[in-house]
C-alpha cells in the first residue's frame, strides 16, 4: 500500500462579544466583572411574561462586521429560538439566528508571505450569550459536581457568531486567520475581543482527507480554546490523531473535545446519536429585522482600510513579518506616524514589532515625534537607557531628550583599559578561548558591559575583545 498524503480541512466558528452599553434584549448593563447577578432584570432572568427587545446598536455593529467581511447584508433577517435545557439558559432557549442570518456569504483575504489566502465566511449572525455557570466540585468540572451556581450577568449579552467555510488547511494559517480576524473586530470598535476575558472565543472543526480529493470526512470539534497558540497546538494534535486513526484502519467519530469547561455554552455533545435537537423556530416575540439600505451604506462608510489590506501595503516597504506584526498588533498607525516624524521605516518597524510590544504601552498614548527621536538615537544611547525610555514613552508629557543625554561609549581608548582588566581577572577563560572555545567571547563582552554599566557600545566591545584575546 502506498502512503497516503493527508490534507487537513479546518473550519472555524468564532464568537465575539459586542461591547455595547446594554445587553442584547434588555437594558441591563453589558460590563465585565460586576458582582454576580447584579446586572439582571426580568428579561435576562426569564421571568414569566418578560419579552426581548433587540439592541439596535448590536444589529448595526454586526452589519458593520458583515461589511468588513464582504458579506451580503440580509434585507430581512430573522431571530430564531434554539431550545435546550441548561442551567445557564434561563428561558431554556437561546435567541439566535438560523436560516436567515444578518450577514452571509462573505470572505476575508489574508495576505501571507507567498500570496493571498481567501477564507470564505459562511455567515455572521447575532445572538445572546448564555450566563456563566460555576460547577462546584473539587475538579471544577461538570462531571462529579455537587452544585452549579449561575451568574446571570453575562446572560443575554450580545454575541456575534462568525462561521468560516472549511477553507483552511494547516494550523499555522488558522492561527493567523484568527489573529487577523481579531484585529479586524477590534479596529471596527465592536469588541475588545480579549481571549482571557472570554470576549472572543472560538471552536475549531477539524477533519482530514487524502490530498487531492474534495471529500469532507467526519469532523471533530475542538471547543473553547483560550489562546491562539493553544489552538494551533490543538489542531496539530487532532490532525495527527485523525491521520493515525485512518492509517490504522479505523474511523473518526463525530465528537466534541472540550478544552475549557468554564465557558460552557451548550451541553456537551458526545456523538452523533446524542446530538441535540434544538427545535429551531422563528422567535415569535420579535419581528424580522429589515436593515434599510441607507443604514447599510452609512455603516459601510464607517469601515476603514482593513488590516489585511494594510499588511499588503506595508509589506511593500517592510518585511512581511514586520508588516503582519505591526498590523495585527494594532501598531501600524503609530509606525506611520513615527516614520512621518522622520524615523527610518525599518528601524521603526523593528523597534515597534520587538521592543515596544514587550513594554505593554498603549500605542494610542504615544507621541510619535518623541518616539521617532528615540528610535533615531537608538544606536547612540546605552541599551538599558533606551529600554527605560521606551517603557515610559506612553507617559503624559514624555520627552525623549533627557533620555538621550547618556551617550554610548564607543571610544576604544576609553574601553581598552576595562577590557584588559576583565581579561586579567579571568585567566582560565582567556586560555580556554585561545584554545578554541570561541563561545566564551560572549562571556567577556558581557563582563565588559557589566563593568561599564551598560553604556559601552557592544559592537566596539566585541571587536576590541576579539583583538585583545587574539
Amino acid at each position: 500500500m502506498t502512503a497516503v498524503e493527508w490534507e487537513p480541512v479546518i473550519g472555524l466558528e468564532i464568537h465575539v462579544q459586542l461591547k455595547t452599553e446594554t445587553k442584547m434584549f434588555c437594558r441591563c448593563a453589558n460590563t465585565f466583572g460586576a458582582a454576580a447577578n447584579t446586572q439582571t432584570c426580568p428579561v435576562c432572568l426569564a421571568f414569566p411574561g418578560a419579552l426581548p427587545v433587540p439592541n439596535r446598536r448590536a444589529i448595526e455593529e454586526t452589519i458593520k462586521l458583515g461589511l468588513a467581511l464582504d458579506c451580503t447584508i440580509a434585507e430581512r433577517a430573522v431571530f430564531h429560538r434554539k431550545n435546550y435545557f441548561y442551567p445557564d439558559l434561563p428561558k431554556a432557549y437561546q435567541i439566535s439566528q438560523y436560516d436567515e442570518p444578518l450577514c452571509a456569504d462573505g470572505r476575508l483575504t489574508m495576505p501571507l508571505e507567498n500570496g493571498d489566502v481567501t477564507v470564505g465566511i459562511v455567515r455572521a449572525h447575532l445572538e445572546e450569550d448564555a450566563a456563566k455557570s460555576m460547577h462546584v466540585a473539587a475538579s471544577g468540572r461538570i462531571h462529579g459536581a455537587t452544585a452549579t451556581l449561575v451568574d446571570f450577568n453575562r446572560g443575554g449579552t450580545p454575541l456575534v457568531e462568525i462561521v468560516t467555510a472549511p477553507d483552511l488547511h494547516d494550523a499555522e494559517t488558522a492561527k493567523r486567520f484568527l489573529q487577523l480576524l481579531r484585529q479586524t473586530v477590534v479596529e471596527l470598535g465592536l469588541s475588545d475581543a480579549e481571549l482571557e476575558k472570554g470576549s472572543m472565543r472560538f471552536d475549531v472543526n477539524v477533519s482530514v482527507r487524502p490530498k487531492g480529493t474534495g471529500e469532507l470526512r467526519t469532523r471533530t470539534e475542538l471547543k473553547n480554546m483560550n489562546s491562539f497558540a493553544f489552538a494551533a497546538k490543538g489542531i496539530e494534535r487532532e490532525i495527527a490523531r485523525q491521520v493515525k486513526v485512518y492509517e490504522s484502519g479505523g474511523a473518526v467519530e463525530q465528537e466534541t473535545l472540550h478544552f475549557d469547561p468554564s465557558h460552557q455554552e451548550s451541553p456537551p455533545l458526545r456523538s452523533k446519536e446524542e446530538a441535540q435537537d434544538y427545535r429551531y423556530f422563528p422567535e415569535p416575540d420579535l419581528v424580522p429585522v429589515r436593515p434599510p439600505a441607507e443604514l447599510v451604506e452609512r455603516l459601510r462608510g464607517q469601515v476603514g482600510e482593513l488590516p489585511g489590506a494594510r499588511i499588503r501595503r506595508l509589506a511593500g516597504t517592510l518585511s512581511f513579518y514586520d508588516a503582519e506584526v505591526l498590523v495585527t498588533g494594532g501598531l501600524d498607525a503609530l509606525w506611520s506616524a513615527v516614520v512621518d516624524a522622520g524615523a527610518d521605516p525599518k528601524e521603526a518597524a523593528n523597534v515597534l514589532a520587538n521592543q515596544f510590544v514587550a513594554t505593554g504601552v498603549d500605542p494610542a498614548r504615544v507621541d510619535a515625534r518623541e518616539l521617532a527621536k528615540l528610535v533615531g538615537a537608538r544606536a547612540e544611547i546605552p541599551r538599558a537607557a533606551f529600554d527605560a525610555a521606551l517603557a515610559r514613552v506612553g507617559d503624559d508629557g514624555f520627552r525623549a531628550d533627557p533620555h538621550l543625554e547618556q551617550k554610548v561609549v564607543s571610544d576604544a581608548g576609553e574601553l581598552d583599559p576595562v577590557i584588559e582588566r576583565v581579561i586579567a581577572a579571568n585567566p582560565a577563560q582567556a586560555d580556554q578561548y585561545r584554545n578554541g572555545k570561541q563561545g566564551l567571547l560572549g562571556f567577556f563582552v558581557g563582563q565588559v558591559m557589566k563593568e561599564t554599566g551598560g553604556s559601552a557600545d557592544p559592537r566596539v566591545v566585541n571587536e576590541r575583545v576579539r583583538e585583545k584575546l587574539g
Partner: protein, 471 residues
C-alpha cells in the same frame, strides 16, 4: 353606602361618573365589590386571590391570573407558579394603574390559559353564574364569571384561540380580542406568543371600548406592538352603510346548536333592520384547517414558552440528584395534564424531520387563512357568526375528551390565526343560557366592531344579569 350599589348592573362608565361627581367614594365602591365577592364567589370560584383596596378613586378591575401584578401572586392557574410573586407589573397593569384603576383580584384560568372551560385550573374550576352546574367557558372563565356575577365592573382577559370571546359568550358579556400587536404582552405569562393578546371583558360595549383605549398602544417593552388609531366610544344606534358578511362555514358548522343558530339568525335580522347589508360569504380553508393548524402552532410555541419553568429561579422546585432530574421532577409535579399534553404535541411538531410537515406547514396555512380573510374584507366590514357552537356545557361533560373540548374554539380560532380583532356581544338566550355573537373585522377595525356591537346591543336589549340574580 356600599349597600346601595348594585354591582350586578353598575357599568364601569357609570361608576366612573359617580366617583367623579363624589356621589360615591372610592372606598365605598371597592367595598361593594368585595362584599359581592364574599357573597357569591364561594359558589362560583371566579377569583384565585382578592386584593385589599390600594386606595384612590378609580374604578376597580379584575385581572386574569396570567397577567403579572407586582407584589400579587400570579399563578397562571398552575401549581408550578403557585408561589410566584412578580417583581414587576405587566404593561397593561401599569396602564390601568396610571389611569387610576384598582385591582380587585386575580381571576381563575385554565392552566397557562390552555382550555375552554376553566376546568384545567390547578386550583379548581369556576362555575357559570347563569347555572353553577355549568362551565363559564375558558380559559378566561374567571374574568367572564366575575363580570357576569357583578364581582367586578370589568376585567382583563387574554385570548390565544378564543379565551376572551368564548367565555364572554358563555357568560353573557362583551369581550374583545384585539388586533394582534395592539395591546402589549409584556408581563403576561406566555402561552403562544404569536397568538396571545390581552383584551377587555365588560358588561357593555362602551365599557369594553373604554378599557381597550386604556390598555392599547405601542409599548417599548413589546416589539410586536404598534400604534393604534384613536378609540371612539360608540354612540350611534344604526348600522347604515355597514356591510356584514356571513361566512357559510362558520355559521353552518357541524355541532352548532339549534338554539344558538336561532339567536344568531335573529341578530342578523335586527342588524338588517338597523340598515346593515347582509350577504353570505365563504372562508372554506380557514374553517377546514384553522383548528388543526392552531393545534400545531400554539403547542409548538407553548413547548418553548413553558420550558423556563424549571425550578431554578422561581416557582415550584422538587429537588433531584442533578440538574436534569430536578427539572424533570419539578415539571412532573408542577404542570398539569393539559400543559403536558401540549408540550408533547409542540415538541413533536418542532422536531427535526417533522418541522416542515407540521409547524412549517401550519405557518403556511396560516398565511392562506390571512389571505382568505383579507379577500373577504375587500367586500365586508364585519364578518358575523356564533362565537361558540354551544351554550355553556355541564362541568365535566368534556373533561375527559380533549378533542371535544378543542372543538369549542372551532369558530373563534380562524380569526385569531389571522391576527384579526374579534368581539363577542350577547345576542339572546338558548335554554336560559347566553348565546354570543362573534363580530370579526380587519386589522385595527376595533372602532367598527364597537360601533356595530353597540347598535346591536341597544336593539337586542339583552339583559346581562344572570336570571337567578335578578330581583
Amino acid at each position: 353606602m356600599s349597600g346601595d350599589i348594585d354591582t350586578l348592573t353598575l357599568s364601569a362608565e357609570e361608576a366612573a361618573r359617580l366617583l367623579e361627581a363624589h356621589e360615591l367614594s372610592g372606598a365605598e365602591l371597592f367595598t361593594a365589590y368585595r362584599e359581592a365577592i364574599d357573597e357569591r364567589d364561594p359558589e362560583l370560584h371566579a377569583y384565585l386571590a382578592v386584593c385589599d383596596d390600594p386606595g384612590g378613586h378609580g374604578v376597580p378591575i379584575a385581572v386574569k391570573d396570567v397577567i403579572g401584578t407586582k407584589g400579587v401572586a400570579t399563578t397562571a392557574g398552575s401549581k408550578i407558579l403557585e408561589s410566584y410573586v412578580p417583581v414587576y407589573d405587566a404593561t397593561v397593569i401599569a396602564r390601568c394603574k396610571a389611569y387610576g384603576l384598582r385591582v380587585l383580584g386575580k381571576t381563575n384560568t385554565d392552566e397557562f390559559a390552555m382550555g375552554s372551560s376553566t376546568e384545567n385550573s390547578a386550583f379548581g374550576p369556576t362555575r357559570n353564574p347563569w347555572d353553577p352546574s355549568r362551565v363559564p367557558g375558558g380559559s378566561g372563565g374567571g374574568s367572564a364569571a366575575a363580570v357576569a356575577a357583578g364581582l367586578a365592573p370589568w376585567a382583563l382577559g387574554s385570548d390565544t384561540g378564543g379565551s376572551i370571546k368564548q367565555p364572554a359568550a358563555l357568560c353573557g358579556n362583551v369581550g374583545l380580542r384585539p388586533t394582534y400587536g395592539t395591546v402589549s404582552r409584556y408581563g403576561v405569562v406566555a402561552f403562544a406568543s404569536s397568538l396571545d393578546q390581552v383584551g377587555p371583558v365588560a358588561r357593555n360595549v362602551r365599557d369594553c371600548a373604554l378599557l381597550y383605549s386604556i390598555i392599547s398602544g405601542r409599548d417599548d417593552n413589546d416589539s410586536t406592538t404598534v400604534d393604534v388609531p384613536p378609540v371612539e366610544l360608540p354612540a350611534a344606534g344604526d348600522l347604515r352603510g355597514v356591510r356584514i358578511g356571513v361566512p357559510r362555514e362558520l355559521n353552518d358548522a357541524e355541532g352548532i346548536e339549534p338554539g344558538v343558530r336561532a339567536s344568531v339568525a335573529k341578530a342578523l335580522e335586527v342588524a338588517e333592520s338597523l340598515g346593515a347589508s347582509i350577504e353570505e360569504c365563504s372562508l372554506p380553508r380557514s374553517v377546514d384547517y384553522g383548528l388543526a393548524c392552531y393545534y400545531l402552532i400554539a403547542p409548538a410555541e407553548a413547548s418553548s414558552n413553558l420550558a423556563r419553568y424549571d425550578g431554578v429561579r422561581y416557582g415550584l422546585r422538587t429537588s433531584g440528584d442533578d440538574f436534569r432530574s430536578m427539572v424533570m421532577a419539578s415539571r412532573h409535579d408542577g404542570l398539569g395534564d393539559e400543559p403536558k399534553r401540549r408540550i408533547m404535541l409542540g415538541t413533536y411538531a418542532l422536531s427535526s424531520g417533522y418541522y416542515d410537515a407540521y409547524y412549517g406547514k401550519a405557518q403556511q396555512v396560516r398565511t392562506v387563512i390571512k389571505r382568505e380573510h383579507d379577500d373577504a374584507f375587500a367586500r365586508f366590514d364585519v364578518l358575523v357568526s356564533p362565537t361558540s357552537p354551544t351554550v355553556a356545557f355541564p362541568i365535566g361533560a368534556k373533561a375527559d375528551n380533549p378533542l371535544a373540548m378543542y372543538l369549542s374554539d372551532l369558530l373563534t380560532i380562524p380569526s385569531c390565526m389571522a391576527g384579526l380583532p374579534g368581539l363577542n356581544v350577547p345576542c339572546g338566550l338558548s335554554e336560559g343560557l347566553p348565546v354570543g355573537l362573534q363580530l370579526v373585522g380587519p386589522q385595527f377595525s376595533e372602532n367598527t366592531l364597537f360601533r356595530t356591537a353597540h347598535a346591536l346591543e341597544l336593539a337586542l336589549g339583552f339583559d346581562p344579569v344572570p336570571a337567578r340574580y335578578r330581583t
